[in-house]
Amino acid sequence: MRHFIPCLLTVGLTYAFGLFLPWWSVALAACLAMAALRIRPWPSFLLGFLAAFTCWGGWTLARSLSNEHILAHRMSAMILGLDNPWLLIGLTAAIGGLMGGLGGLCGSLFMALIHPSTHEFEHSETQSEVEELTRQ
């Protein structure tokens, strides 16, 4: 559940930045979200990826479904040489995810550099999670 917050923040910032910044602002959104919440590097990549993947994928899926995949059929044939809307939607989500993951990683590494001790909170939470799991 606690992973939900950085994801939500990333999604929110992705939308907000997209209103006035180009498409690559998805990386910036994840970067700021992970930095602000001081997420550790590897989780930051995974969470950034997951958030952006879901955001771009979900958004695209919604648009394409309401379009009955008319454009996705044509564009997948043009871009991928293969008439498969799901592949194009997947590719869109993957590009968003990759940019989000990398952006998240950058944010996290940046915070780790200027505040070397900041990941302790996250660290202890993860530890307690592990402990919780082992206890059960």
């Binding site: 939308y15 498409w23 648009r63 009955e68 008319i70 871009i79 968003g96 940019m99 990683l105």
Partner: protein, 811 residues
Amino acid sequence: MRILLLILAIAVTTTLAYLLDSRSLLPVPLGRLLSPQEGLWQNAEPVATAPNAALSFPSLKGKVDVYFDERLVPHVFAEEEQDAYFVQGWLHARYRLWQMEFQTLAAAGRISEVVGAKAVDYDRNMRRMGMGYAAENALRMIEADPDTRAACDRYTAGVNEYISSLDVASLPIEYKLLGYRPERWTNLKTALFTKAMTNDLAGYDRDFEYTRALSLLGEENFRLLYPDVSDSLSPVIPAGVAYPQPLAPLKVPADADSAYFRRRDTSLPIPTFKPDPANGSNNWAVAGSRTASGAPILANDPHLRLSLPSIWFEMQIHTPAFNAYGVSFPGIPGIVIGFNEDIAFGFTNAGRDVRDYYEIRFRDDLRNAYWFNGGWKPAESRIEEIRVRGSQPVLDTVPYTVFGPVIYDKSHPGKASDGKAYALRWVAHDPSNILRMWYLLNRARHYDDYLAAIRYFNVPGQNMLFASRSGDIALWQQANFPLRWKGQGLFLMPGQDSSYMWQGFIPTEENPHVVNPPQGYISSANQRPADTTYPYFIPGTYEVYRGIIINRRLAAMPSVTPEDMMRLQNDNYNLFAEYARPVLLKHVQPARLSKSAAYYLRLLEEWNLTNDPSEKGATIFSAWWDSLQHVVYTDELNAYGKPLIRPDRFVLLEALLRDSSHRFLDDIRTPQQEDAAQCVTKALLLAAPMLDSLEATEHLAWGRFKNTTVYHLLREAAKPFARPGLPIGGGVNIINATTHEHGPSWRMVVQMSNPIEAYAVYPGGQDGNPGSRHYDRFVSDWAAGKYYRLWFMQKEESQDTRVKSRMSFKP
């Protein structure tokens, strides 16, 4: 260590962002293109939504209501006439912006700005042809007329209001794919659009090809291969109409025989980027005396290269001054083919030659003075700057002479040239305001209004068909057609003095025309307009067979209904084959045929002479006849090491019908004498392997073989935007003139009854966006020969259930 990791992460992220934002690694900027916020997904229009909006523009004078029906046809009701043009411009831009800009960029020779260096030759050819010069001349006339000026100004304002409402996300998808942005619309672009149409319809000529053929083949062979008139002509103007004799005979230059007809010149440029000579059309009108309802019926189907988005946009425009329905050209104001409450109008191409070339002698390589009427005359220069995406601009200085722009010279030689210079004389360069014709036609009520309107049309020559609710039918072949002495302009002409210049134009009132003929119908199908009793020399590119079959069908039809007319537009009967098959069957030597050739012969004998999609005989006939033309002519046409133009289809048929010892039958490369039997048999034997491979892949049926395809304007670059493999019959010389990628771009049947009953369809859809369900909405119905009943909406019908959505435009 940590800082290195950070630097690495930032480097990877920015590199990836850069690569996905540019065309340096991938052909398209995939990140930008796939972004759900600004990329192509924004063009995926929700299927369920219809356009509803309330918009406000301070420049409007009154209110405009737009009602969209189920097919996304807008019915525009404007309180003020000028506002209607504003809204038409806005709607054209909303649904067809990319296409209208692309087509006018093409007309201006500016495609290199979008696609880069590969279009420079194309652009240069358009500049050399004087397209920009022609459009500027037209624009001066358009803007000198207060009515057309106001219409264009308001239209342009509407387009630009739409353009300025666009952001990165809402750009049409082609801009995103090609990576550029629309520029402002101007009245000049509207003029350029009319010149693009003019070039498509009156830009085809064979002057260079004919000159080369005359030089190589000699006069007698030339006349046999490229005759002026077909034996079986069924002219637009019914035979028997008496023509007044011209007042003064034309002055033939004294040296015409030596310097013109016996000129021998074979090192000529080979023109490129020629328009398709098949650009033509059918139209016919049936008088009330022959219709079931007693009201005239007008039918029109213009044949053009089929494209998505379609060249046409269907709409109704209602203003206090007029109420017209039909198709418009995205790019110009008004309704182009259609009807209003009183009249209907349609067009076919006249195919008349309105372009000639003059050989120019420049003083020196500076090309700023040329020899004319005994002295050096200064040439004006127009410097054409072709901006090229991704590289340096190309500059071309085009000299202008008294004849027109110098299209070929040392610096722009076409494919092969002797470095001589040729100037182009083309009616399209002459100042004119053809928009005024549509402005007046849209509000015309009677024959006299129509007559007054068409006078403004100088080019491309059109057969302008008219039918009125008051019961008149009429057709005028209208344009400024040059007065020519016999033979003038078939070949390149000397340009060192004025003796070979056109000596004026045929007086408009002597243009071929027919009003309420006793036979009760009028038709035109790009054939020669009049028989040889017409007292002027009128060369052109003419069709022969569609006109004959249309007249035969109309003459046999009692009490005509709109349904009859729709069936006629979809008629796949092959009249050419009706004439030509007996010739093949008469001469073929069955004993010499291979087993498979004998099989095709049998299929051809059993064929019903109809080019329906399932007919194999149609494919066999087409392949056999093409092969026969190849067998008969290739030896002569290739004998000189220079390509010669293939004669028209009717030439060989009529030669064989007249005389089975036609002189070209002999293969000049062999010692023995070939005859018709040998040629016809050999032709089938040569065609058989190709037919075998078609049969083996199940492509022998005509529809599969022809593979009718509506391409996107970007053609191969946007193949998934095309509609290939349409199950439709027809073909060359057939009323349903649908070939592989060419054919009826709009089919319309209008019965001028009360109320008007109209049907139409076109192979496209109202929305140019490939992400809209309206993009290719009508294509399948068009291929199946179906029509839509047009709704000529009345003002009080705004609450009708046929209204699916609405927009309002207010000041």
